[in-house]
Symmetry: C2
Subunit: 159 residues, 2 copies
């Protein structure tokens, strides 16, 4: 099998999901970012921060280096959306979303096929020996699905 | 590279997306299926029919055989949700969703790694020679993302 074509196809799928979400965020005015995806549900700004935090956490999880903005987790990951909480500057968040995905994608592109099947950093060597599907490819696939999951929600917002 | 582990990881990701959506549909009463995902948006029943039609279309697209229920397309794919249109029996649709995904998954599981990289049926041999990423793997990955996209929407419905 052409392993390089296999990983290139997976990578293209990741990039498509990220690019579609980016196109949506770019289309949003700052006022649009404050709209909820449905009455009483998360605002678009929360999902922008949430997806940025999750991409940021992929760096250490995939052994690609330190993450950049751990402070995003409290606002956008561990706590639900809170309309009364202060949020970072919209421009800064928009930039971080693009920056972290550019870095991630560049580093994924440099992996050799066998590096995709190495263990990720939150599984022990012992467990990985028994469960070899808990690999980096699995992380990238599930995070790609996570972006699509929230993109489906954002697409309900008229911008 | 262990090609079999690569395809097994992709397949597990497909199955996870399908299973999560199935758990959601199973949790829905028939009355829940009639709820819209957000005010004025698609009902859950539309997404059940839509995802079933898309899985059904994957059979010929992936060279795995004829599709079963072409009549679903008009109700759930080519036309938007129409609350005044008659829909097939809910029980029948629920069954078709499970049946087509069981068939698809079983057939995907039988593929050798190189079969994942063969062209799908809606790209010409000539175009495929130039664009080898237009392969079956790409179809499975994008359809997995499509299920996640709509699952994110359904998850907004209280059932």
């Amino acid at each position: 099998m052409d392993s390089t074509l296999f990983t290139a196809t997976v990578l293209a799928n990741w990039e498509t999901a990220i690019n579609r979400a980016t196109v949506f965020f770019d289309k949003c005015s700052d006022a649009d970012l404050l709209k909820p995806i449905a009455p009483g549900k998360n605002r678009v700004i929360y999902l922008l921060g949430h997806l940025t935090a999750v991409s940021d956490r992929m760096l250490p999880l995939l052994g690609l280096g330190e993450r950049h903005w751990a402070h995003l987790d409290e606002l956008f990951l561990t706590k639900p959306d809170d309309v009364s909480a202060a949020v970072p500057s919209f421009g800064e968040l928009r930039g971080q979303w693009k920056e972290v995905n550019r870095e991630l994608t560049e580093k994924l592109r440099a992996w050799k096929p066998e590096e995709w099947l190495m263990k990720h950093e939150s599984v022990s060597a012992e467990d990985f020996a028994k469960e070899p599907h808990r690999n980096r490819l699995n992380v990238v696939l599930s995070r790609t699905g996570h972006v699509s999951y929230h993109h489906g929600q954002m697409a309900l917002v008229k911008v």
